[in-house]
């Protein structure tokens, strides 16, 4: 009856959710169709990170990506956007538990968030939860308000990046 080919069933796309859990917290979730150990590998291997951290639709490219994934180890991502100056995101890993938990600081501004990523495997799939804790309500509000006063420059840059993404996704 159904003419669709059975050989390659269209995989259901997993949903990404973002929620502001409290005045200082943002939570991003997504399920991946693979074991935690492989998802973790993709978050901690520079060659693999490069392949997904700056998707084409963002309009920016990842110029460099140095990560030293161990407690106290540093990371630095540099992005470029069509000839304009580069922007860097950097910090330190403060917790590294293979296949289950990564915690890092965001040091590009004085009051950056602390990011915790957990990988929870269930039936061959992995639920990823990324939790960003800002030092104060005002920092997260500032990030969200975008152009409002007292906002660190990096947030403006991030917002610019997100805006670029918003338009390019909207058009596709």
């Amino acid at each position: 009856m159904d003419a669709r080919r059975e050989s390659e069933p269209a995989p259901l796309k997993n949903r990404t959710t973002v929620e502001r859990k409290s005045e200082r917290e943002l939570v991003v979730t997504r399920t991946f169709n693979g074991p935690a150990r492989l998802v973790f590998e993709a978050w901690t291997t520079p060659m693999l990170l490069k392949r997904w951290w700056a998707p084409r639709s963002t309009g920016v490219s990842l110029l460099s990506c140095d990560v030293d994934v161990r407690v106290g180890g540093r990371y630095r991502f540099e992005f470029g956007h069509e000839g304009s100056k580069t922007m860097a995101f950097f910090g330190r890993y403060i917790e590294v538990t293979p296949h289950s938990r990564l915690v890092w600081t965001n040091d590009e501004s004085d009051d950056g968030a602390v990011t915790t990523v957990t990988f929870e495997e269930k039936g061959g799939k992995t639920l990823l939860v990324m939790h960003e804790l800002y030092p104060a309500k005002e920092t997260l509000d500032g990030a969200i308000a975008g152009m409002e006063g007292g906002m660190p420059e990096t947030f403006a840059q991030l917002d610019e990046l997100l805006l670029t993404l918003g338009t390019s996704v909207g058009q596709s």
Binding site: T16, R20, S22, E23, F32, S57, T58, L163
Partner: protein
Amino acid sequence: MVQHIRTPFDASFAALSDATRRGVLEQLGRADATITDLAGKFHMTLTGMKKHVGVLEQAGLVTTEKVGRVRTCRLGLRRLEEEAAWIERYRRLWDARFDELDKVVEELIRKEKVDGRKKRE
């Protein structure tokens, strides 16, 4: 009540839970108004109306401006809209990243299967 408000969203929902405050928003949607105007329209005391407007203001739904002795209220939806728009942009960024990450994970799974077969041979 106000001290339990944790996020602009919560504040907005709390603000909208009251019929008078919804009425005030409707009214301001038609035209800006002073506190005195609003108090008259809703048959309330000035103090009572000030409280309602205060809650709406805290939620970012209304902005007020005092000129001389008169405080004028107008709709100020921006904060809520901005937050929702920002969160959606942020979600799209991570969704785009995760779509690529899906491909990386798929490839790692395939590679493991091939390597496993090789080992058994």
